[in-house]
């Protein structure tokens, strides 16, 4: 068996942290990563998890040069659409470069699609950077629609000082 997909465990957080950084490097934003395996453990494996995670694992004999057997992950959470109800948002999907081309990415995504079915979620949403051609093509081939293109949706953010200032003025 070339690989398996399973739910992440608290002990996987160091591997997840490593791969989060690898993905951030690929997305050209490594300096934006502020959390470590400690926060991942607290926030994903406590009494009130803020995310769900599946990992792809290979047998020992196929481990990477550095000895890693956890070679891919998908991190997602439940969201809500006031138009159609329960949804899942896929936050991160990543497979280490040397393990690509075997269908691991597809298997991780199919696993999330299965969760959608089981939990009666009507949609899977996620964001992709406009220059990330390989990912854009992969998702479009699976029937994904680019809503920024089609409907003009833009993602906005309040953080840092802007968020603090607003909070100070709360009634």
């Amino acid at each position: 068996m070339k690989y398996s997909i399973r739910s992440a465990r608290a002990q996987d957080c160091r591997d997840i942290e490593r791969m989060i950084m690898e993905l951030a490097l690929y997305e050209k934003m490594p300096d934006q990563v502020k959390i470590s395996h400690k926060e991942l453990e607290r926030d994903g494996f406590g009494p009130n998890p803020f995310y769900q995670c599946l990992v792809a694992e290979v047998p020992e004999e196929r481990s990477s040069a550095e000895g890693h057997t956890v070679v891919g992950y998908v991190l997602y959470y439940y969201t809500y659409s006031t138009w159609s109800g329960r949804c899942i948002y896929m936050e991160d999907l990543y497979v280490m470069p040397q393990f690509r081309g075997e269908g691991i990415g597809k298997a991780l995504m199919a696993s999330v699609a299965k969760v959608c079915r089981e939990q009666q979620c009507v949609r899977l949403q996620f964001s992709v950077l406009d220059w990330n051609k390989p990912s854009l093509e992969f998702y479009l081939s699976k029937g994904a629609q680019d809503l920024t293109d089609k409907e003009g949706w833009h993602l906005l953010r309040f953080d840092g000082e802007a968020l603090e200032s607003l909070a100070e003025e709360a009634p």
């Binding site: 926030d43 006031t82 138009w83 948002y89 079915r117 949706w153 009634p171």
Partner: protein
């Protein structure tokens, strides 16, 4: 009209919340896309596993519209997770009835949500806006929001139920 009150939504507010959801969808020219019912909202917001949180704005009896509504605005949000910075507050819907705009109610709702974000250790508040909705984009940018689609190139994607079923069968 000076006085209004912001409070956490209760199960009895569900009919008003659905009414306002439909009004917002009408404003976004997508009213026929609202499939959610009062039953869904009740189960999903006030059951064992809440998928969303809601804040409502209400006015005192003497300022009610002819039809007798006292709930005249709402904001629906939930918590999401960014593997780079941790917990986020995601603003899903935000609406004040046309007749009650211009009194600062929207601003106060936004401040209340920002305060909630800071109190619950969220690094950031995210939301999407249609690029055709310049009034809203300007409202948010005036208060320090950043357009991540423009600044960083993020595009929002969706896979709908039909394609999800196909994908989950490929596992």
């Amino acid at each position: 009209m000076a006085s209004f009150n912001l409070r956490k939504a209760e199960p009895k507010d569900v009919p008003d919340i659905l009414r306002l959801i439909k009004e917002l969808a009408r404003y976004e020219e997508m009213e026929d896309q609202v499939k959610l019912t009062e039953k869904d909202l009740l189960e999903d917001g006030f059951g064992d596993h809440p998928f969303y949180h809601c804040v409502v704005a209400e006015v005192p009896t003497e300022h009610q519209k002819a039809e007798g509504y006292s709930v005249i605005g709402f904001a629906m949000y939930y918590f999401t997770y960014d593997p780079w910075i941790g917990k986020l507050l995601y603003l899903e819907d935000f609406f004040v009835m046309k007749e009650y705009r211009g009194f600062g109610i929207g601003s106060e709702i936004l401040k209340k949500l920002s305060e909630t974000a800071v109190k619950t250790r969220c690094s950031s508040m995210h939301f999407i806006v249609a690029e055709s909705n310049q009034a809203s984009i300007n409202f948010y940018k005036r208060r320090g929001a950043l357009d991540l689609s423009l600044e960083e190139g993020w595009r929002l994607f969706r896979i709908d139920k039909q394609n999800l079923l196909k994908l989950s069968a490929e596992e």
